[in-house]
């Protein structure tokens, strides 16, 4: 029995809520009384969900504003003592939904616990609002994760603060908190710039890893060479070079000179993170080669680069994604490619 100052609310995706698999990824948000699926495990661990909210992963991703509005409307009515999202494990879309919901619930002052792989986009999306229990990719870890989540959530539901990350089993929260200091920002700025003049470069805000100022616009698209890059796992049929279906740390390139369109008999997708049937029927739906060729033929672009670049962007550690991006970019710069169209799923 929880000593909670309000209901316990649990957020799940379509699969864990028992609404279906990939085919139900478009499911609209629903509200269910009591625990569902992993919620029963939470209940056994002492944290019984009073209400379960669920939404299809694709529905959330493709209709984020509406889905959020519905879910937050319910949260505003329920005024939970704590919100638990997931565990999402290695699912990027599910983790993302958990992270966004955590962030928005956090803005309303609701404590949130979630669980996912440390590389999940949900960790970034949460902006430090949630206590994130790190997990492996595999659902089999559920029985280990649940007690940690339950304990954290019970603490928060009682209005208490959890202990430090390594003791309580959550990722250090990437939060920046305000403090009042002795010197004004102006005085500190003068000190920092005097130090910079002496060669001692210090900063109060570290350069952000993911922030890059936009590249200047292409001056004349009719003269530029454009390359097609994809993380949709598009490869020749048979996957002759063995592109991994998940957790890829590699990328491949395939020649497309003289190829007017991606023939479904010749190309496929091996990406393990989405339903590939639409893509199997027409791979141009992942890599728009036929349209790019048409623009090249009509002179709207200068040239289509002679190769397309491919990887599978599912369960990819951030470090791998950065390395893949850098390597592909280096290859493109060397080939004097001026612009890239990258397709993602």
């Amino acid at each position: 029995m929880t000593n909670a100052r309000g209901p316990v609310v649990h957020y799940l995706n379509q699969f864990f809520a028992g609404l279906g698999g990939e085919e139900a990824a478009g499911h609209e948000p629903v509200r269910i009384d009591g625990p569902v699926g992993p919620g029963r495990a939470l209940a056994a661990a002492g944290l019984a969900p009073d209400v379960t909210l669920a939404c299809g992963d694709d529905r959330f991703g493709e209709h984020e504003e509406d889905s959020l509005a519905t879910l937050l409307g319910w949260l505003d009515e329920l005024r939970p003592a704590v919100l638990v999202c997931g565990p999402a494990f290695g699912s990027g879309r599910y983790g993302y939904a958990c992270g966004v919901l955590a962030r928005e619930a956090g803005r309303r002052g609701t404590p949130v616990v979630t669980a996912m792989t440390p590389d999940s986009p949900g960790v970034i999306a949460a902006e430090g609002a949630a206590y994130v229990v790190p997990t492996g990719s595999n659902v089999a870890a559920m029985k280990d994760v649940v007690p940690v989540v339950a304990r954290l959530a019970l603490t928060l539901a009682a209005g208490d603060q959890p202990g430090p990350p390594d003791e309580e089993g959550y990722l250090p929260r990437a939060r920046r908190t305000n403090v009042l200091v002795e010197r004004t920002g102006a005085e500190r700025a003068i000190e920092l710039v005097l130090a910079k003049l002496r060669g001692d470069v210090r900063t109060e805000i570290a350069p952000p890893a993911e922030l890059v100022h936009p590249a200047p616009a292409v001056a004349d698209p009719r003269t530029v060479t454009v390359a097609l890059v994809t993380e949709s796992g598009c490869v020749p049929v048979g996957n002759p070079d063995g592109l991994p279906t998940r957790r890829a740390a590699t990328w491949l390139r395939y020649p497309i000179d003289g190829v007017a369109s991606l023939d479904p008999a010749a190309y496929t997708s091996v990406h393990a993170g989405f339903d590939t049937s639409n893509a199997e029927a027409d791979p141009n739906r992942l890599v728009p080669l036929d349209a790019a060729r048409a623009l090249e033929r009509d002179g709207a672009i200068g040239r289509l680069h002679g190769e397309f670049y491919t990887t599978s962007g599912v369960d990819t550690p951030v470090a791998s994604a950065v390395a893949i991006g850098r390597e592909i970019a280096a290859a493109l710069v060397e080939a004097k490619v001026g612009a890239v169209i990258l397709t993602g799923t």
Partner: protein, 421 residues
Amino acid sequence: MSSTLADLSIATFAIHEVVEGTRTGRNGATLVVDVPQLAVGARSDALAEVTVEVVRPDDPVRIANVLDAALPDVRADDPDGTFPGVLDHGRDEWLPPGPIHRLEGTVVLSVCDWGAAGFSEAAELPDAYLDMAGPGADRNPWAGDTAIVVRCVPAPGVPVADADAAVRRASLFAGRALASATIGDSPDRLDVWRHPSTVEVGSDLPAIAAVLQIASEGPLVDTFRLGRAMGTFAPTVVDPREPLTGAIVNGAYDWPAVRNVTAVYQGSALLRALLAGHGERFRMAGLVLAPGYLDGADEKQRAASRTAELLAELGADAAVCTTFSSGNSHTDTMLTIRACEQRGIAAVGLLAETNGGLTDHVPEADCLVSTGNEDELVDAWTPERVIGTDGDARVGEPVPTWAYVGACVETGDARLTAVPA
């Protein structure tokens, strides 16, 4: 000496207590305020109602719909010329005025519920609070000062720019009236600000310039210089003492925490530190006013390059670059930093943060001052009174830092900064 380079005197009078009385005047460190008379004097045809209220430090009061904060000032030899262009017909050029008398320990706040008055332009304006007590008091740069709250209700049918001008006149009128109580008195402190070019200093000292970013995008999001909306202006070298004299006045009411209220121009910590330090560890090279929120990458780049060019002409070795509010003005700051660095001018920028990180960044921005995290929630508080609105004022709910006026101002006047949690 040319009158353009004359010394500027600011005489400060410390006020420890404000009491209401039948005649506005000063009794040592006590300011007596004839509140009804002040309200009458602040009136104009464009306003249906003006009320004045004294709110003291630690009063359990939340003030909502705060527009501007200003320090009470009067030009002792030329009271009519105080807040030029706002309280008088204005003038074309700035010259160092005669002695300014300024009250310390009081601040004038203008308050207007534009939404309740029916102005659609106000629909997008975010909530703007100042708490005199409670957990939000440390987000209030004037929590230790007595607030003279000038609350205005626009007259029906008045265009928004006219109503706004009237609100501005009302509050600055009140500021002048209060400061006028000191005319003829000896100050507690006298600061004489000399133009740096009139002070001989060692030429081996590094030269630091200030870049004050200002935006002025239309009614309710304007900044006024000598009474005129600045609009889209070209980067300009100005006398570094000009903002201290009430020549630049705020009329922008979007994001409260990063709002450049009039008080941060009058009391500019950056300009005062650079002017006071001139000749010690550095030389003050000068001040450039730079436009923020320019439309389009080309315009932004041209302005950034021009600012850096002016800084080079001033002989600056380094520049402190402030930011005006949030969003794409951060790009203006980044491009300015980059343009400086490309000319070999070491640049530091002042920026507020959010939970989502910075809005923009360039590799040259390796030296940044944090003026705080605007997204951080302040604990819920239930004040005994709310001034400035009959509607919702987030009473009893957590309030994001961005809603507190001046808390994270990117001119460097506040003392809030963000650190890892």
